[in-house]
C-alpha cells in the first residue's frame, strides 16, 4: 500500500546551519511512528516542513501521493494533517470547549454572511460543531472543564486539550510534537493511552518525543535523527540495540532493557 506520508530527500537550511540534511521517511497508514534524537537533531524542523509552517529548502513531501510542497499551513491542515506544538499553543482567551470547536473548522463551512444573518444552515452547523466538540471532550475526559478558560487548566490537561483540538479536525495524520514534555509519569501514561485510543479510531500518528519509555511502549516504528541526518530506523527493540543510536542518544542504560 502507498504510505500516507512520504518525505523524499528533505533538507532544511537556516543560513549556514543545516538543520535537516537529506532525510527521507515514510509513514504507513495506521501506524504510530516516532522520531527521536538529541536536541537540535531537526525533529521539529521536519514537523514544520510537513505542516508548511517553515517549508523545506529541498526535497519533496507527499501526503497520500499528493505533493504538499508550496501549500499553505491551513491548506495542509484542511487536507487532513493536524498537529500539536512543543510549547502548548492553545487559544488562551477561549474556553476549553471553544478550543475544540475551532478544531472542527476545516470540516465545517459556514462563512461570514451566513453567520452575520444567522441563517438556519449556520445555526444547525453550530449545534453540530458544539455536540461533536462535547463528545470529544468526553472522550479525552475533559467534559467537566468545558466552560473553563483554556489557560486555567493544569498543564497536563492543557496537553490533553491540545491533543483533543488537533484530533477534532478528523485528521488522517496527526503530528505530536513532544506530547509528554512536562508531564509527570502518571499524566504521561494517561496521554499514551489516549494516543493509542485515537489511533484505534483510524488516525495515523507521527510523534517527536524525548520520553523513551512512552516512545518504546506505543511506537510501531522509530526513526533516529542526529545532527539533521537519519542514523537509524526500525522497530523499538532494534533501535534499543543499535550501537550508533546508543552512542548518539540513548546512552548505555537503555541497552537491552
Amino acid at each position: 500500500m502507498e504510505p500516507i506520508l512520504e518525505a523524499i530527500n528533505l533538507s532544511k537550511r537556516f543560513g549556514g546551519l543545516v538543520a535537516v540534511s537529506d532525510v527521507s521517511l515514510k509513514v504507513e497508514t495506521g501506524e504510530i511512528k516516532a522520531i527521536i534524537g538529541p536536541n537540535g537533531a531537526g525533529k521539529t524542523t521536519i514537523f514544520n516542513a510537513i505542516t508548511g509552517v517553515d517549508p523545506p529548502t529541498a526535497g519533496e513531501i507527499r501526503f497520500k501521493g499528493q505533493k504538499l510542497n508550496g501549500l499553505k499551513p491551513y491548506e495542509i491542515a484542511s487536507q487532513g494533517i493536524s498537529r500539536t506544538f512543543q510549547n502548548v499553543e492553545l487559544f488562551d482567551n477561549m474556553s476549553v470547549l471553544e478550543n475544540v470547536m475551532v478544531g472542527r473548522h476545516p470540516r465545517t463551512f459556514s462563512g461570514l454572511l451566513s453567520a452575520v444573518f444567522h441563517l438556519p444552515k449556520a445555526i444547525a452547523e453550530e449545534k453540530a460543531i458544539r455536540d461533536d466538540a462535547m463528545e470529544r471532550l468526553a472522550f479525552v475526559g475533559l467534559s467537566s472543564s468545558a466552560q473553563e478558560l483554556a489557560s486555567k487548566l493544569p498543564f497536563g490537561q492543557q496537553r490533553v486539550l491540545e491533543l483533543a483540538r488537533a484530533w477534532a479536525t478528523d485528521p488522517e495524520l496527526l503530528l505530536l510534537d513532544e506530547p509528554a514534555a512536562g508531564l509527570n509519569s502518571h499524566e504521561a501514561t494517561v496521554l499514551a493511552d489516549l494516543i493509542l485510543k485515537i489511533r484505534e479510531k483510524g488516525t495515523t500518528i507521527l510523534l517527536v518525543e524525548h520520553d523513551m519509555e512512552l516512545v518504546m511502549d506505543i511506537s510501531d516504528e522509530i526513526i533516529v535523527l542526529n545532527y539533521g541526518k537519519k542514523i537509524a530506523e526500525g522497530k523499538p527493540e532494534e533501535i534499543q540495540d543499535n550501537q550508533e543510536v546508543i552512542k548518539a542518544y540513548l546512552g548505555e542504560d537503555f541497552k537491552g532493557r
Binding site: V53, Y74, E89, F91, M94, V102, H105, S110, A115, T169
Partner: protein, 301 residues
C-alpha cells in the same frame, strides 16, 4: 433597548438628542473596530478614512450626480469595501506596530487626497448642500428622526456583530488573535478572515459616514483626520476591547465626557486626559472589564 426607546421621550432637548445622534454614528464605527481589534487582534489607525469614504461618496453622488441618498449609500458601501479589500491585502500581512503604521499611513493619504482634489471634494473648505435622507415624504430632518434612524442601524449592526461573534467565523477570528500559528494548524485561513473582518468594519464605518454626510449636510476633511481615528481606537480600548458591549460603553463615555466637562472650562482637557489615564491604569481591560468583575463578585455573593 428600553433605554434607547425611552430616552427621546424624556429628553426633548434637541441639543442632547444631537449628542445622542453623534454617539450613534460613532458606535457604528467602534462596533466594527471592536470586531477588528478586540476579536481578530488587528489594530487600525485609519478608520477615519473609511468614514470619510462613506461620507464623501454619499455627498458627491447626491450633490454632483444627483443620485438619491439610498443608491448613493449603497455605492458608498461597495466602494469602501473595495478600498478596504485592496488596502487589507498588503497591510494585514503586517503585525502589531507595523500594521498600526500602515493603516495610519493610509488614513493620512486619504486625508491629503481629500484636501488636494479641490474640484471633486471642495478641498480643505469642503462642500455643503448635501440633501437630507427622505423616505417617501418623510424627510429625516429633526434630531428625533435622526436619532431613530441612527440607533435603529446601531441595533441592526450590533445584532449582526453578535451573530458573527458566536459563530464559526467569530471563533476563527478569536483564534487568530490568540495564536496565528495554532489557528493555521487548525485549518483557519487566517489572511482570509482578517481581510473579511477588516472589510466588514470598513463597511460599518462607511454606513456611519453616509449618515454623517446627510445629517450634517456639509463635510470637510477636518472631520476625518488622524485625531478622529485615534479617538475611535481610544473609545474601543477604554470601553474594553474584548467585547462589543465594551466598545459601546467606551463610545458612550467618550462622547458624553466632554459635555460634562464643559463646566470646568480650561481644565476640561486636563480632566479628560486624567480620566483616560486612570481608566487605563486601574482597568486594563477597560470599562467592560470592570462590569465583568462586578458581575462575578455579585455572582459569588
Amino acid at each position: 433597548m428600553l433605554v434607547l426607546v425611552a430616552l427621546p421621550m424624556v429628553m426633548r432637548n434637541p441639543y442632547y438628542l444631537g449628542i445622542m445622534v453623534f454617539m450613534g454614528i460613532y458606535s457604528l464605527i467602534t462596533i466594527g473596530l471592536s470586531l477588528l481589534m478586540g476579536y481578530a487582534g488587528q489594530i487600525s489607525l485609519g478608520h477615519a478614512a473609511f468614514f470619510a469614504t462613506g461620507a464623501y461618496t454619499s455627498g458627491i453622488l447626491t450633490t454632483k450626480a444627483h443620485l438619491s441618498p439610498l443608491p448613493a449609500f449603497l455605492a458608498a458601501i461597495v466602494l469602501t469595501a473595495c478600498i478596504a479589500f485592496l488596502i487589507g491585502i498588503p497591510t494585514l500581512r503586517l503585525k502589531g506596530h507595523y500594521l498600526a503604521m500602515a493603516t495610519l499611513g493610509f488614513g493620512q493619504i486619504v486625508y491629503v487626497a481629500l484636501n488636494a482634489s479641490v474640484d471633486f471634494t471642495g478641498g480643505p473648505s469642503g462642500f455643503g448642500e448635501i440633501p437630507r435622507i427622505a423616505l417617501g415624504n418623510l424627510v429625516v430632518e429633526s434630531q428625533l428622526a435622526r436619532y431613530c434612524l441612527v440607533w435603529a442601524l446601531v441595533v441592526i449592526v450590533l445584532l449582526f456583530s453578535l451573530n458573527l461573534i458566536h459563530s464559526r467565523v467569530g471563533r476563527a477570528l478569536r483564534s487568530i488573535h490568540s495564536s496565528e500559528l495554532a489557528a493555521n494548524a487548525m485549518g483557519v485561513n487566517t489572511s482570509k478572515y482578517k481581510i473579511q473582518v477588516f472589510v466588514l468594519s470598513a463597511i460599518y464605518a462607511s454606513i456611519a459616514g453616509s449618515l454623517y454626510a446627510h445629517f450634517v449636510t456639509f463635510i470637510s476633511p477636518g472631520s476625518f483626520d488622524l485625531e478622529f481615528s485615534i479617538l475611535l481606537v481610544t473609545m474601543v480600548v477604554v470601553g474594553g476591547m474584548a467585547n462589543v458591549w465594551g466598545a459601546l460603553l467606551g463610545t458612550v463615555l467618550l462622547t458624553l465626557l466632554p459635555e460634562f466637562l464643559r463646566g470646568f472650562k480650561d481644565y476640561d482637557i486636563l480632566i479628560y486626559g486624567s480620566t483616560l489615564l486612570l481608566i487605563m491604569i486601574f482597568m486594563p481591560e477597560g470599562l467592560f472589564g470592570l462590569v465583568k468583575k462586578l458581575r462575578s463578585v455579585r455572582g459569588r455573593m
